[in-house]
Symmetry: D2
Subunit: 399 residues, 4 copies
């Protein structure tokens, strides 16, 4: 049997685990359990408080599901912010995993209460809200960090390191796609997650691009280290009728002129979480597929394809090796990526609480600056589409 | 062992095999052997004459390679047209597989000599030349047929029939790609096939789109039965420096408003003949990859993915079954597709010679009308690119 | 986006999480973290005590890694058994993940202290020890449960249900393999996990069959519901020299005469955790590969292959659906299987503590009876090999 | 576009193509067209004569299918041997692709008439017949060559060269399998190919082992260069009832003590031509699958898996490169392997006719010696099975 090890990031810190609270995420929601599972598996957080639902009964049942003590199961996030801020053993951070249009007031409320915020993407619906949140962070006060889990897969980290080391030469072109099929069906009356994602009142100007395109945009930046200079987008509705797009064809130009073709769709039957990229450079290519996340395909120009596989040794670079918890072939998947993310969040928030500057770059975490840029990406796509697919800049500044 | 059979299309006709000549295709070229292998494997043609190279020594050696009698190994295609037209046992058809800019005079010359022409794609470099060839065909005279081999894979035929039968419902969106990596390297002084493909004097306004984009365009029409109404294209040069594009991002709109995202590149390291499509409809999807041509992936909405595999039975429709020569699992590949194409060409030309109207639609063959439309596609891409990616119509008429 | 849910088995019980202790599993070991991660992710256990290493410093550091309070970090498992049995808030169960030859005294010690035991496989090295442990369980006293995680993958559960429902007809033949490559290298002086596995003094009569063959044996029974009547085995050493086998070719006969071909090896370069089975019946086949655990391949006789994929709907049966935590395409892997196992263990131990009979069959858990049978399998393989590959029965009784 | 070439073996020799005749292979049979397609695609043979069926009408129609002149379409193979031997332009070789029990008289008849014989495998049903045919060949007289097409895949040649060059180190263990599903169904009254294969009167002592196990046995020798010293076999009937086996589990020992596990079955639903091997050595492994013949998977110990793909360059050795006809990614499959075999047969028979010693070893061809050894393999399996799976030698001599 191959020898593996649990990477050190899943060791609880010497001072013990941090305390985590949730707003949203209770029964009936989709992503709350993803965050919570990541936090548990990271071995760096205890989930001790929550305002898990706006429905009081559901909030109580959800708190029991997560073994949250009744006195820390709140019916309203404002009460939670106040009470937790006042406790000696109050939460060290709060996760905001509510519908997008509510991110701003909740995140602002916890930041004002002095509590660090972990916020699902996109950070907000409007650029103005995003700018406002950015102004509330920085300096020595509480911080806001976004949750982009896919970049915390070991083999994405491997890809990033290989690109940075020049193993595929100069970047030449990229294709990235995120394809699903959930929009083929009309949302049912109980399918709250779909209802708010398709309603302009709650989702803003975009549905699929805001929901999954933001992951693709973030991955582009993460793996290449480049910024998006400009883009062109076409929006389509290919699935069940709805006012917002379920599909987008986007062409982008990265710093240095690298062309990118992006395909975003939630109306592609048979595609479930088809998040994939191909990065081609002057000396080779790299391909990764979220549905088979253990394998990074490396195609050196003029040599056989190599399947670089998660595990220790056999070409795995240190940046990836620190995310390896099980030996090669003993699969890790999405919850492991979430756990890697939550371990990184614990480390960053621990650094900040210890008076240090959090090493966001080294931990591959995104703060409010990147959150704002992600919101600008969504708006640039919507603007380009509205202007017939014209080239559109992302805004006054990059990341 | 599963029972298979050699589909009837590989039976020689009762009157014996037809006689075939070649212009181009000798030693040093790439595609001549592909055509010749297809013709041999089809069991419907004897290759008996050729002007296989403009270099006399190479022409003679090439004729010997193919067991062509010395007196029918010509040094010049004009001599060949004249002599073969005069023989009682002259060729029934000529294959033109020379560089694109020479297609027009050669094809015109053989048509004028009364000999049917089988022409590689694209039919010509200019729209005017294409229109001219079209005017020379039709009626009871000799005909010109294009060689698009990929649509003669059994499982492409299966896809076409399933789309037509409504098995994936209404078409909703399509992605098609043709990716290779040959343009990563500069063409060497002996690499004639690359030299003319990258030189505007011989290749015209486009390199990659003309070379492989035309296959993707043709496949779109073949599998969906729809026409391209308009398109937008961006050209890029991602590989070795050259004056023409090696990469194109194209967005198309088919009849009925179906959006298509097309990715064409000869500068994608690790991609060799990555010709693939996904067709998504209201009831499911179909995916096919030329590099694994035996498997058609069918993803019904709400049911498990099905791998429909070439062979008799197990969901194979009659249109595909007639192209099945070996039992399931006993692989057929590209030469089999070429052989299917050459069998169809023999049947069509046999029909014409017998005074019948050739059943091009039923045989999935393309005549000069489609050849012209393919040339228009290339020009529409180049025009759109020149106009900053503006929407561009294909021309006065569709197929 | 597809709608998923966290299956109810990851909800903490109304009475709160159970308390878990560990013997073994600290820094330097391999499998301790696998158990611990599964327990954490299951959301049904708090790890509160441990004798994590026989080395005191390592034991203390390991306890800190897992956030175990210093007063419950024991240096000796005997002290732990005594102290925990005496505490009002003592552990509800102990995990024994030490080298195999120590399972018997430790398990016996905790059972005698009235504490339920969760024991890694194989249960013991000798049949006598296994029989002894069996006699110590049963009735209303503490129980012993084995950890076979692979049968807790959702798609293995799906396979089992499909076999039971007759979807592949009568069973006709099976192939099962578990292939790795760790034995290609000599064990280094610090590689304790390999040193004891290859030493007859600690590993007993078998290395690879005891280590991974037991998983294959257990899977056979689990998926088919049949018992092994007899077997023939050949042992080989194909990797680095060592006194015990690293490879076994085994032929088995299941109840009803179904032939099985089993291949076990830890000396197959390029194989990491290649645990795979094909089950063929009169109406079709099922294939599963641990390295790609989301996909169950179903090959109906005379119909296209179907890829039944983990997720809700699309052919997933209720037995599998209850193990689905993330939507289709959002990958689950080995830690999820461990978490499913630890959830089942919590339910079973909760049932016993509530005075009920634990529903081992329904929860797909194995008690001491199956543990004994697993030890008999190892000895039957060794006996057959010693007798030149003669047919060998497993023992006086089946499961 | 990548540059490819038609390997020189598909060039007709300077003296023109050889003349080929067939006994068997007409309408209603399975494999005749495979041989004929290979011969045509090889560009080295003209098929000019045949006794294609014992049914006269079928023989005449089949001759027309293949464009054989009526005066060389024989009703009886004896007439054909006599007439062709007498013609100045008589056939250079005859293909015998009739049921196995008729191979001996037909092959003997043509050898006696001075005509080289190309015989399908297994060479005969009995060892005695095989020995008799061997005595009729050798020296300067006509020769008999067997048709094992799978070893003529380019990537099998690549595997063989890599093993010989020590790229995977010392051989340590092998697994080889050939799995199909045709025996799940009873043979229908018109399914002549199945009827004779399952009838001991025509098939001899074995069905599946004789039909496809012989390919596996031959591949073992081809790829490793080792001989089988002894084997143990179990026969099973897992599909439709029949007197002979449809499944065999075989354990073999190669020269040097290398253990091999072989699985042969025609009763595995969903398996069509699942001929696969894994060869593991001290320094790595090689895996090949006939259904995806372009890819040879190379797993160096301690490095990433490499997918060595058919094409020029990128690690392809000269032994394989000479079988490369299409550029990488432009698929070759089974008919290409047959064509490579028929090219080799033409070269060998041309050598013999020119008075040289045919280079069977270099051409990877098998003569009567190997044919005899293949028959011995079948009998050794049957003998071992009859003796309860006892170790059984192959016979007095190896290859």
């Amino acid at each position: 049997m191959a020898t593996g090890h649990l990477a050190h990031i899943r060791r609880a810190p010497a001072g013990g685990r941090l305390r985590l609270g949730f707003v949203g995420g209770g029964r009936g929601g989709l992503v709350g359990d993803w965050h919570a599972s990541g936090a548990r598996l990271s071995n760096r957080w205890d989930i001790v408080a929550g305002a898990l639902s706006s429905d009081p009964e559901r909030a109580a049942l959800s708190a029991q599901d997560w073994a949250i003590a009744p006195d820390r199961a709140y019916g309203d996030w404002r009460d939670m912010a106040r009470a937790e801020a006042a406790r000696a053993d109050g939460i060290d951070a709060v996760v905001v995993c509510t519908p997008n249009h509510t991110h701003h007031p909740i995140a602002a409320g916890f930041l004002d209460a002095g509590i660090d915020v972990i916020c699902d993407k996109p950070m907000t619906n409007s650029v103005e809200e995003a700018q406002d949140l950015r102004t509330r962070t920085g300096g020595s006060g509480p911080t806001l960090l976004l949750t982009y889990p896919y970049v915390h897969h070991a083999m994405v980290r491997q890809a990033r390191a290989m690109v940075a080391a020049g193993e595929i030469g100069e970047l030449r072109q990229i294709r990235i796609e995120y394809l699903q099929d959930g929009s083929m069906h009309a949302a049912g009356p109980d399918d709250k997650g779909q209802l708010w994602r398709r309603d302009p009142a709650t989702a803003g100007r975009s549905s699929a691009v805001a929901d999954i395109g933001t992951h693709a945009y973030h991955m582009l930046h993460h793996v290449t280290g480049r910024e998006v200079e400009a883009l062109r987008a076409e929006f389509h509705t290919c699935g069940a009728p709805q006012p917002l797009e379920d599909t987008a064809f986007v062409s982008l130009r990265l710093t240095g002129g690298v062309p990118v073709l992006m395909h975003i769709s939630q109306a592609a039957p048979g595609q479930f979480c088809g998040f994939r990229f191909h990065i081609w450079g002057s000396a080779g290519g790299l391909s990764w597929d979220q549905e088979y996340p253990e394998d990074l395909r490396h195609t050196p120009l003029d040599g056989p394809e190599r399947i670089v596989r998660r595990g220790q040794g056999a070409g795995i670079v240190p940046e990836a090796a620190q995310l390896v918890h099980l030996p090669r072939g003993h699969g890790e998947a999405l919850t492991d990526a979430w756990a890697n993310l939550y371990a990184a969040l614990a480390i960053a928030i621990g650094q900040r609480r210890a008076g240090q500057t959090a090493d966001l770059e080294g931990l591959c975490l995104s703060g409010a600056d990147e959150g704002l840029q992600g919101v600008r990406f969504v708006h640039a796509c919507a603007d380009s589409h509205a202007r017939g697919g014209a080239w559109t800049d992302l805004g006054p500044s990059g990341w």
